[in-house]
Symmetry: C2
Subunit: 138 residues, 2 copies
Amino acid sequence: MMELTRKGEYAIRGIVYLAGKPLDKVCLLSDIAAAVDVPPTFLAKIFQQFSKIGLVRSFRGTGGGFLLGRAPELITLLEVVEAVEGPIIPNRCVCAPQDCDRSAFCNVHPVWKRVQGQVRDVLTGVTLRELADGNNQQ
Amino acid sequence: MMELTRKGEYAIRGIVYLAGKPLDKVCLLSDIAAAVDVPPTFLAKIFQQFSKIGLVRSFRGTGGGFLLGRAPELITLLEVVEAVEGPIIPNRCVCAPQDCDRSAFCNVHPVWKRVQGQVRDVLTGVTLRELADGNNQQ
DNA sequence: CCTAAAAAGACATTATGTATCCTTTTAGGG
DNA sequence: CCCTAAAAGGATACATAATGTCTTTTTAGG
């Protein structure tokens, strides 16, 4: 359980690749996809999501492509993951206790809260800078 | 992401209910299902899985039913969750690095390892005793 | 205009989750 | 030795989500 989907995996690969490039280097989606071995059409959807929330910036037309929306040390892995996978929610009751008519007598709830906190803490503690370093083929 | 399935949720409800009963009290599946508001046929499948690994013991025929395989303070939430959801695997590469031809230059791998460890730690730290207490209608 | 490239939307396929039903096995009781 | 109770096991059905692909539209440069 708790498994990252392909989409999440691909998203990380793609944006980490970008983070390994100079901040002002505009990259073609097709190049990124080839470099990180992800279906280009799928990666396109992922980068559209990134673009909407500003994780990357996009330019259309000739000479267009993508670059990172912020410096890689300012983007956490949590942001990347949640951008495509949605929030970290070990159990429904964590985000919508009101929907769970059992929460009044449910001792499990606080456990899932703790799990959520731990996972978020780990992912918040990692930036794209760290992930790109030592991984940088330029 | 990382969401528990219904199956996992139902599994916890069911076995926590058992944990709230006297250790030698044989409970009918139909009673458990009704008490924790889970489809009986579905809960049956779940308890079959529990039974196979000894988390619960089952008795067939008249007077049959289920009881806990061990004292509730000796069963962790991790065991229960993994019994029905499989192992905690934030990413494939965590369990099968050899399958991931990227692991040689993948800095994300150790992060998922850390996530896995944190989640397992939290779930290992909770026993059915604690979950059943204050939850015990006898 | 013409071409390059991303954005947007529709669609297809497969896998997983969420069950239900039916038959078989096991056990107790008369 | 049946008869009934109850779990075990297997097959099936349905819904939802994951994993892509394809086509059209928008935007921008030359």
